[in-house]
Amino acid sequence: MNLSSRENTKDRISKVIIRDLQLNLREDEISHIKKLDDLFGMDSVAVIELIIGLEKEFNIAIQPGYLDYQIFRDLDALTDFINKLVSVKKGSDSSS
């Protein structure tokens, strides 16, 4: 995964966070912060809303077994997690 692709994923995640959690923050405020719950209340409801938003944005399914709620508080870890799911999906789509 190259740098620009990673940044692109991060930007898209930031957009989803602002849109789906209905925050009054700018994208740059989100993308420059490491821990998301330093910027807003990140409760379990916010995590579920974020999961649904990310599934739609990236056309992926986040299975319950994958759920480590701490990932959703850390933007870098979340970016890597989403990129991994997207790659797995691309791989399975191309082999089928």
């Binding site: 959690l21 209905q22 405020e29 209340g41 379990s44 409801v45 999961i51 319950p64």
Partner: protein, 488 residues
């Protein structure tokens, strides 16, 4: 009392599955056996006395259930607490309820970094580090057991303290007696015709009044099976609803809205009742849910103080109705002077029920204000139609419905105002399309201040679900001559 009801169910359905948590299935006989082990532990190791208060700071798990029935058995009082509370919030409940023992687990304890102070003689028990021996089968349900219990509990013995939102900045504690818990369960069981063949998917946390009564007590009073979920996940919920042939499911508009979002059209033929509570259910969500699952979503109305009041059981209630009162519930609509109103006239809903609390713990003034002639003033504004269907139109008491939990905005404002940079704070709930509310804080600061500073300050003082999601800074908050915020 409740222990006798439970023992009768165990005698009737000893080999029936009581609880399944994905890892193991526990029969009623095993549940009783395990519960007896806890009774022995509470009596002989903790020396728990009648009336002592023991906090259950646990997610939905089998141990919560063992412990509740064991606590009831020894005549003590269980205090289920929201697992998202921060240390200072937990401290409030410890003092307010006079808690002497807190039962939690290692996972929850890690969120505080270390074991909270035990300086006040509070015992913290980690349930995952306890080894509770099951009582031998031959000792179970024996006359000796009955002798141990006899005389400990009467119908009006307190057995549960449950938290509810306040209106003065701090939550109130609702006291429930044995008879309230049993009556509440029996009333709903009759309305839904619950049998031992029913299977409940229990997602709503047991520390929530609805989760406790309808997802835990109700199935166990009827010999039904509980399929436990520790945390809500839409996909896992859908999987379990289908794979476990769930017949009864209690949720909230948020839960049903997310299920509708993630699911393709699937059939859930076993599902008899899908009941929504905690916030108003929109007709749009009902329609979308029915289109996806061919199951009708029904509204349930109740309160921590009263238990379940009404269920939208019939299809012919008018749009927006929360149904008619279930058996043993008396309900009236009154005006500001306390006079009963006619159908289609709007006033405050008052309720009388055997499931109802006798009052808030240690709140004599408040109790005088909200309990009149055996009726509880709900603070909800509503009306009845000519067929007795109830319609909720608003609330007298102000709170925010955050994640299905009612939060007093004053509690959040108090924390915000304790930050040295904040001069004024006004907190409101902003409705979102999932039937819940987002917490918004408007602040006037003394000096330059960032969102991050505010969040970092509140983080250790407010549970995550009480944290503002939107923070905006203003030069002033408009107020009227009385100092009341002018809504904007």
């Amino acid at each position: 009392m409740i222990e006798d009801k439970f023992a009768a169910v165990v005698r009737k359905y000893p080999e029936h599955i009581a609880i399944s948590d994905g890892l193991k299935a526990i029969t009623y006989c095993e549940l009783y056996s395990q519960k007896q082990g806890y009774v022995q532990y509470l009596r002989q190791v903790l020396h728990l006395q009648k009336g002592e208060r023991i906090a259950l700071f646990l997610p939905n798990c089998v141990e919560f259930i063992f412990l509740f029935f064991a606590i009831a058995d020894v005549g003590a009082i269980a205090v289920p607490l929201n697992i998202h509370l921060k240390e200072n919030e937990l401290q409030y409940y410890i003092v307010k309820c006079g808690i002497t023992v807190v039962v939690t687990n290692s996972e929850l304890l890690t969120q505080w970094g270390e074991m909270p102070s035990q300086g006040q003689g509070i015992k913290f028990i980690l349930i995952d580090r306890l080894e509770i021996p099951r009582k031998k089968m031959r000792d179970m349900l024996s006359p000796e057991d009955d002798l141990h219990r006899s005389g400990i509990n009467s119908v009006d013995t307190e057995v549960l303290y449950i938290s509810t939102s306040g209106s003065t900045g701090r939550p109130h504690i609702v006291s429930r007696m044995h008879t309230n818990i049993v009556s509440g369960g029996e009333n709903v069981a009759k309305a839904l015709e619950i049998t031992s063949y029913d299977r409940f998917l229990s997602v709503t946390p047991f520390f929530h009044a609805n989760g406790f009564s309808n997802c835990m007590i109700l199935p166990l009073l009827k010999g039904s099976t509980i399929v436990l979920m520790k945390h809500f996940s839409p996909r896992e919920t859908l999987h379990l609803l289908k794979e476990k042939d769930i017949t009864i499911f209690f949720g909230s508009p948020f839960i049903f809205s997310t299920l509708t979002d993630v699911a393709d059209q699937i059939s859930l033929p076993s599902l008899r009742f899908c009941l929504s509570t905690g916030a108003p259910l929109t007709e749009d969500l009902k329609r979308r849910f029915f289109d996806k699952f061919s199951v009708r979503l029904r509204q349930l109305y109740g309160a921590s103080e009263t238990g379940t009041v009404s269920i939208e059981l019939q299809n012919q209630h008018g749009e927006g109705s929360v149904g008619t009162p279930i058996d043993n519930i008396q309900l009236k609509i009154i005006d500001d002077n306390g006079f009963e109103l006619h159908p289609f006239e709007t006033g405050e809903i008052i309720v009388k029920s055997p499931a109802m609390t006798k009052g808030y713990v240690d709140e004599p003034d408040l109790n005088r204000k909200v309990f009149h002639n055996g009726y509880f003033r709900t603070g909800d504004l509503g009306m009845l139609d000519d067929r007795g269907s109830i319609f909720i139109v608003g609330r007298k008491k102000k709170f925010i419905n955050a994640s299905g939990v009612k939060v007093d905005p004053v509690e959040i404002e108090t924390v915000l105002l304790s930050f040295h940079k904040v001069r004024e704070a006004h907190v409101v709930g902003m409705k979102n399309d999932r039937g819940t509310e987002i917490i918004k804080a408007t602040l006037v600061t003394q000096q330059d201040c960032t969102v991050q500073e505010i969040i970092m300050y509140c983080k250790d003082k407010l549970a995550d679900f009480k944290m503002p999601r939107i923070i905006e800074f203003k030069d002033s908050i408009p107020r009227d001559v009385m100092g009341k915020v002018i809504l904007y």
